[in-house]
């Protein structure tokens, strides 16, 4: 993998960037017979600043909200050329580009049945523009447009249920992965690309700058999100839940306390309780708890 990287070193991502880690894993798993269509966002900016590019696969960036539509055109062209069978098309975007401004184009792509893998790198806010709140920002997060104050404990809404929205389109594959669980992420990308039709993978990618955690904590923070039940790693094939990562749930404080964006909650048990409820709901909903806790 290091001998022929498809996503080369030398890009300008911040130290500890979870998105850079995940993006590299995705393309290295997909391999060289892949065309990538990228929305505007951190990944696009830090990997393709003229005259340099980190990508060693065909790659195009058009606009903030249209990767799914541009990818649809690329796929249509490949079908016309008779090249689709041996070419992967990946559309990728951040959480804002997916759940907010790009949702319509994504919905169209999923509904039309294109043979495309859509990857959402979820760092839970508009990081490229300075940590503004997105539809995938968690409840009570302190961002620059959901700031804490005398009358605010941060973002007032929970995350938009993007995996469920994708699933509701009746597509053959939907999965949630994490930069903290690398073999699982690779397996899901591989699996997705083996299935014909629209696929959606959402990857939790910590952002040290926006989440305000230490840059050497990226993978640990990502793992804590999963281990507290706040970011369930689930996988659906043809609408059926086929896998979930089981956990011995840790209290949500363990995840919150290592990040500046949640620091304001640490002496506010009532607010933490609400976040714990979100985790508990996930744990119940997806049956995440390991059967025998003593053995874990």
């Amino acid at each position: 993998m290091d001998n022929s990287p498809l996503f080369k070193a030398g890009h300008t991502a911040c130290a500890g960037c979870g998105q850079a880690i995940a993006a590299r894993l995705v393309i290295e798993t997909a391999g060289p017979n892949t065309i990538i269509v990228n929305n505007t966002g951190c990944l696009e900016v830090f990997s393709t600043r003229y005259p340099e590019s980190a990508w060693n696969v065909p790659w195009i960036h058009s606009l903030f909200e249209n990767a799914a539509a541009v990818a649809s055109g690329v796929e249509a062209a490949l079908i016309y050329l008779g090249k689709k069978e041996n070419t992967n098309v990946i559309a990728q975007a951040g959480d804002g580009g997916t759940a907010d401004i790009g949702l319509q184009a994504l919905s169209g792509m999923l509904e039309r049945g294109h043979d495309i893998l859509y990857v959402c790198y979820d760092n839970e806010a508009y990081m490229n523009t300075g940590v503004q709140r997105s539809g995938l920002t968690p409840f009570n997060t302190n961002t620059s447009t959901s700031p804490i104050g005398a009358k605010s404990t941060g973002n007032i809404r929970p995350k938009k249920p993007m995996p469920e929205i994708a699933l509701a389109h009746g597509i053959p594959y939907v999965a949630v992965a994490s930069a903290g669980f690398i073999p699982d992420l690779q397996r899901k990308v591989k699996k997705a690309l083996s299935i014909k039709g629209p696929k959606y993978i959402q990857i939790h990618v910590p952002c040290p700058l926006g989440w305000r955690h230490e840059t050497d904590m990226t993978l640990e923070v990502a793992r804590l999100a999963v281990e507290t039940g706040l970011y369930p790693l689930i996988e659906y094939e043809n609408g059926t839940l086929v896998s979930r990562r089981q956990i011995a749930p840790k209290p949500v404080e363990e995840y919150l306390k290592v990040q500046g964006r949640f620091k304001h909650l640490l002496n506010n048990p009532a607010e933490i309780k609400q976040i714990q409820e979100i985790a508990d709901n996930n744990i119940r909903k997806y049956n995440l708890k390991v059967e025998n806790q003593a053995s874990s």
């Binding site: 060289p32 017979n33 892949t34 065309i35 269509v37 990228n38 696009e44 900016v45 393709t48 600043r49 003229y50 005259p51 590019s53 990508w55 060693n56 696969v57 065909p58 790659w59 195009i60 960036h61 058009s62 606009l63 909200e65 249209n66 799914a68 539509a69 541009v70 990818a71 649809s72 055109g73 690329v74 796929e75 249509a76 062209a77 490949l78 079908i79 016309y80 050329l81 070419t87 319509q104 184009a105 919905s107 169209g108 509904e111 039309r112």
Partner: protein, 395 residues
């Protein structure tokens, strides 16, 4: 072969002859017949193409962007709000240097909502880096699509072309149109052979971030290329004449009885047909009047306009669009063309007509010729209904 066809059908025939492998569109009146005809051709197996039904014009433009980027000739069509909704992608396609042909069935812009013809939609996107050709009749519409791909895909150009045709007047109008033979179109328009494309055999990054050290040169290159288009369009037009026999001269402007004219109207699109009729009528009465038709609005053929109008004492510019709060868009170009020139019309008057589908009748054109005298008129609306203005504002 000459056929009596609706304009939309004629466009679809022209597009079929150009063999786009990707077509994407979102329905909007009065563009719909064009894409319905194409969808039927694909359904019948008469056109091998991927027809992608999208959820918006923004995505229609994005799909064809992706199609061309992957190396396949593509087509889309839209109107009015649809074109404005595409606007972001329209700029992007030109910036990415992707060749494309888009049919714009010209229609007024909301509010108030109005599905009828004027040219506000495409005129509003004049700064996007596209070549814009305005057709007078459906033969031109057909021919400009075929020429459009040739111009667009020329290795020196690699820029998109918008063929602008007046909504309803042309899209829904029945005319006798010569639909060229496939062999001739194949001869004139070779298969798309892109300079660059998304290809796993030769990985390429498209759409990079250009910081202040690099951005400006990309815009300069667009500007220079569009200047070159003023040379390429006439060249392609003459090649077109060689293959198909129809002569659009330089295909930038058309001069109609200008040589000895005392009064000339400058206009774009189907209204030029009406103006020609009035010119014929007034010429028969001994009046020295003429028409200058602008075909290429972008790039704007300043030198050709100056050459054509320099000895005409009085010029009226008829705009079917406005630039609210400023002079009318086409009038601005004509005035700019002559600023500082030794030989110039003494009067360049500006009229706005036909907004939101109000008919521009022969009488409207006669009125413009009557009003064109030694007193320069700036931005007068023709055929306004004063009684409506009084009702609305209680004047």
């Amino acid at each position: 072969m000459k056929e009596f066809l609706e304009g939309s059908r004629a466009i679809a025939e022209a597009v079929r002859l150009c063999k786009p492998g990707v077509i994407s569109a979102y329905p909007i009146t009065p563009q719909t017949h064009i894409v319905e005809e194409l969808a039927q051709m694909v359904a019948n197996g008469e056109l091998r193409s991927q027809f992608v039904n999208v959820e918006s014009e923004h995505s229609a433009a994005s799909v064809v962007l992706g199609g061309v980027a992957a190396g396949v000739r593509s087509f889309t069509a839209t109107s009015s709000q649809g074109l404005l909704y595409m606007a972001e992608v329209i700029f992007n396609i030109a910036g990415l240097r992707l060749p494309l042909v888009l049919a714009c069935a010209n229609r007024a812009v909301s509010a108030p909502i109005n599905i009828w013809n004027d040219q506000q939609d495409s005129v509003s996107l004049r700064d996007a880096g596209w070549i814009q050709l305005y057709a007078e009749n459906n033969q031109e519409v057909v021919d400009f699509h075929i020429m459009g791909y040739r111009i667009s895909e020329d290795k020196s150009m690699m820029l998109p072309v918008m063929v602008c045709l007046d909504g309803f007047i042309l899209t829904h109008g029945m005319e006798s149109v010569d639909i060229p033979e496939q062999e001739k179109v194949d001869k004139f328009l070779p298969p798309y052979n892109p300079l660059y494309k998304l290809d796993t055999a030769e990985p390429l990054t498209m759409g990079l971030l250009a910081d202040p050290d690099y951005y400006m040169e990309t815009r300069y290159a667009l500007q220079e290329t569009l200047k070159d288009a003023l040379k390429l369009i006439p060249k392609v037009s003459q090649e077109f004449r060689g293959v198909f026999g129809r002569d659009y001269k330089d295909c930038l402007i058309e001069e109609y009885y200008i040589k000895d004219a005392q009064k000339v109207i400058v206009a774009m699109g189907s209204v030029c047909g009406t103006i020609k009729e009035v010119v014929d009528e007034l010429r028969a009465k001994g009046k020295k009047v003429g028409l200058l038709k602008i075909i290429s609005y972008r790039p704007f053929p300043y030198a050709r306009v100056c050459e054509a109008l320099k000895d005409v004492p009085q010029v009226a510019v008829l705009d079917k669009a406005v630039s609210l709060g400023a002079y009318a868009p086409l009038a601005v170009e004509i005035k700019a063309a002559f600023f500082g020139k030794k030989k110039s019309p003494k009067v360049i008057s500006s009229f706005v007509a036909g907004l939101g589908g109000r008919d521009i009748t022969p009488e409207s054109v006669r009125e413009i010729f009557r009003k064109l005298n030694q007193r320069e008129i700036n931005l007068e609306f023709i055929d306004l209904k004063p009684e409506l203005l009084q009702e609305e504002y209680g004047q």
